[in-house]
């Protein structure tokens, strides 16, 4: 790598401070906005930021929110999100966000301040072992100890964050490195010394996969977040492939939007709160194409009962995802987009005809499952069903036709958002899937709104989760970000309450949201608009008012307090043991202790 780096100019090499080198590297890596919070160790960067216009700084109110905002920015644009925090508490506050980005494969570069190199290890003021703490929280991290390494490390951080399976990268910057002069070199063209993920698939494996799929009687495509990671072209190719093969397609929570929700061949989300048809099709399939999904336990249910009659093809850019939880017959390492393109080509080239007759029979079976209409609910009377609130939100945004981005917090509302809000395109859906971080949604929506100033950005929230990063309302006010917070207020940590009802004898230990704030006044005190809706008859008007308002809004929607999220595969159960609704809750009593130990 170093062989290909050349000094920008000898003068520049001598005149720039470390902080200026950092900013120049950000600019040369395409960064236009950075989410951050100042402190002693990063003051030189803040000073340099003050003296330039190329990079916009968004001042968050908590460092965790800076990372989630960068995640929202990254997921909605396909670019690397960028964060700047100070040493010690700044860095430790960022850790939850970093792990969130790691679990969900989101490219983020997080710059952390550090005490000067000569004080490292001395328990200096606001010193924390940031590289030590974040080593398992990041894809990779760096501590810059020499001015000569600074530019290279900055460029490498961006390369690592976005290449292969994306993830968060921390660059820890001691203050002396920022203040002293440092040479600048442009981003290198040469390959990285050791990190070179494989993106092109092995042609023979692709052929094997296509042969298997052509002969399939009960095929299914199970597509995940990796398709989103691979860029919008991969989603387009997924649609092309699914249409061409006539296969049914299901998406994971992280994959929503990769395949258009309204399409006939789409079975909805699969997994713990997935649809009946998606889960039974997974259970009964004979050939499964997993593309960019990681056989998460929320998806597979009990492993020894997972798709027992299937042969599996697994496409993933990260070889460690393959054969991790579920052994597969045809592993394919590569980028989802490249693999889909290769499969389409190979499918066309292979002469073997497809038995459309058996496929029709499979669809007949799937349509029977569909006929169960597992997501139906009854909205009657004044009390708003949370499902109905999401459904109306979806329908009204559809009707308005504005570019819409949805983020969520974590809990039942998140699952209802996944079930009832249809996504036609990738990159419109931001949710914390792997870590399940309450407090993700508001800052993520903030990051999305920064990237898409004219779009409609809505955080579908729970009343408990929203309080975890509520301070970001001030950021919305400062930057006039018209984010809408749509709270499904059931006065409970509903997801916790649901598990307590179903698995712990209805003992609602500490899951009631007591002493809630008045969200209307809370909104107003943050210079936003507050709306409260308590009657189903007023729901549509409330939604329209929220959307029409040009600034930030909190819409506090009082919903049924005891509604459970169905369908549900209880932990430790198999796909074909799912519970469809309250009438079947008795079935949950069968959960074994083995199931109960699962999260």
């Amino acid at each position: 790598m170093s062989a290909a780096t050349k000094p920008a100019s000898t003068e520049a090499a001598l005149t720039m401070s470390g902080a200026e080198v950092v900013l120049r590297a950000l600019k040369d890596n395409g960064v236009d906005v950075i989410f951050g919070y100042p402190g002693g160790a990063v003051l030189p960067i803040y000073d340099a930021l003050f003296q330039q216009n190329a990079i916009r700084h968004i001042l968050v109110r908590h460092e965790q929110a800076a990372v989630h905002a960068a995640e929202g920015y990254a997921r909605s644009t396909g670019r690397v999100g960028c964060v700047l925090v100070t040493s010690g508490p700044g860095a430790t506050n960022a850790v939850t966000g970093l792990v969130d980005a790691l679990m969900d494969s989101i490219p983020v570069v997080c710059l952390t301040g550090q005490v000067p190199t000569h004080l490292i290890g001395n328990d200096a003021f606001q010193e924390a072992d940031t590289t030590g703490i974040t080593r398992p929280a990041t894809k990779h991290n760096y501590l810059v100890k020499k001015p000569g390494d600074l530019a290279r490390v900055m460029h490498e951080a961006f390369y690592v964050a976005k290449s292969g399976r994306p993830g968060p990268v921390v660059v820890d910057l001691p203050k002396d490195i920022l203040i002293n002069k440092a040479p600048y070199t442009e981003p290198p063209i040469a390959e990285h010394r050791s990190y070179r993920p494989q993106t092109e698939p092995d042609a023979e494996q692709v052929r094997k996969a296509v042969r298997l799929m052509k002969a399939a009687k009960r095929p299914i495509v199970y597509a995940g977040g990796g398709v989103i990671n691979a860029g919008p072209e991969a989603s387009r190719l997924l649609v092309e492939f699914v249409r061409m093969t006539g296969f049914p397609c299901t998406n994971t929570l992280m994959g929503l939007g990769a395949y258009p929700a309204g399409d006939q061949q789409f079975l909805g989300m699969l997994g713990m709160h997935g649809t009946y048809e998606a889960n039974l099709a997974m259970h009964g399939c004979d050939v499964m194409l997993n593309i960019g999904a990681r056989f998460d336990d929320r998806v597979t249910g009990r492993l020894n009962a997972f798709a027992p009659t299937s042969k599996k093809i697994h496409v993933d850019i990260d070889p460690s995802s393959i054969n991790k939880n579920v052994p597969v017959e045809v592993p394919i390492v590569g980028d989802a987009g490249r693999v889909l393109a290769a499969m389409i080509e190979c499918w066309k080239a292979e002469d073997a005809p497809q038995d459309t007759h058996v496929l029709t029979a499979w669809w007949r079976q799937i349509d029977e499952w569909r006929a169960k209409d597992c997501l139906r609910y009854r909205q009657e009377g004044k009390i708003i069903k949370p499902q109905h609130a999401v459904k109306r939100l979806y329908e009204i945004t559809q009707e308005l036709g504005r570019e819409t981005f949805i983020s969520t917090e974590v809990g039942q509302h998140q699952m209802w958002a996944a079930q009832y809000f249809g996504f036609a395109k990738p990159n419109r859906w931001m949710t914390s899937g792997g870590l399940g971080t309450m407090g993700y949604g508001l800052p993520a929506a903030m990051g999305v709104q920064i990237a898409h100033p004219d779009a409609l950005c809505i955080d579908i929230a729970g009343e408990a989760s929203i309080l975890m990063n509520i301070q970001e309302m001030a950021t919305l006010a400062q930057y006039r970000l018209p984010v809408k917070v749509f709270i499904l207020n059931n006065e409970y940590m509903g997801m916790v309450r649901q598990w307590q009802e179903l698995l712990h004898g209805g003992r609602y230990s500490e899951s009631y949201s007591a002493a809630l704030p008045d969200f209307v006044k809370l909104a107003e005190s943050f210079h936003a608009k507050g709306i409260r809706v308590t009657d189903a008859a007023d729901l549509d008007a409330g939604i329209r008012e929220m959307i029409a308002y040009p600034g930030p809004v909190i819409a506090d929607i009082a919903v049924a307090k005891d509604e459970n999220c169905f369908p549900m595969i209880p932990s430790g159960a198999a796909h074909n043991e799912m519970i469809l609704g309250p009438e079947q809750e008795g079935g949950v009593k069968g959960v074994t202790d083995e199931g109960k130990v699962l999260v």
Partner: protein, 172 residues
């Protein structure tokens, strides 16, 4: 498709890494964080510039777990190459041990006789002690230590295994 069976096997894995700060912590953290076994681990720079280090790790697990270990190692950014010497054919494993034995009279004579039989060298001696140096595979060192115990073994220092494939083929 990898083996789904529960049969455990040992694996000696050689890992070539960029010799940079924290690289060993990454490897060890990976093993502890994901609950893999480390039976032994050695590390030292191996190229003339000192930029590349070789880590030899002896581990055990089911075939699926060992495949995971290799894949997880390989995705670490500073890792150049991962090689499962156990799977890839015949290889040599060696370990160095320094073994201190204290005793007088007949015990001293017995210690020297055993050392001779095991080709251990005396590298330090006082009137009441020896330090023996021996190389070999782990079994040989284990056996030597077991025999020395009743003779007056007081301390053992071992390097852990280093390993290399037989034949002309190199790892890089």
């Amino acid at each position: 498709m990898s083996e789904t069976g529960n049969a455990q096997r040992a694996a000696t894995i050689a890992v070539l890494v960029e010799n940079e700060a924290g690289v060993l912590a990454r490897v060890i953290g990976l093993f502890s964080g994901r609950g893999y076994n480390i039976d032994s681990l050695t590390v030292a720079p191996v190229d003339d510039t000192g930029r590349i280090s070789r880590i030899t790790v002896v581990t055990s697990g089911t075939e699926m777990v060992i495949d995971q270990i290799k894949a997880q190692l390989d995705r670490l950014v500073p890792v150049h190459k991962v090689s499962d010497l156990t799977m890839e054919g015949p290889h040599l494993t060696r370990e160095l041990a320094l073994i201190k034995v204290v005793g007088k009279g007949e015990h001293r004579m017995e210690a020297l006789r055993l050392a001779d039989a095991f080709r251990a060298r005396v590298v330090d001696a006082t009137t009441e002690s020896f330090v023996f140096e021996m190389t070999g595979n782990a079994d040989k060192i284990d056996a030597f230590c077991a025999l020395m115990r009743p003779v007056g073994l007081v301390e053992v220092s071992r390097t852990g295994a280093v390993a290399i494939a037989r034949g002309p083929r190199g790892l890089n």
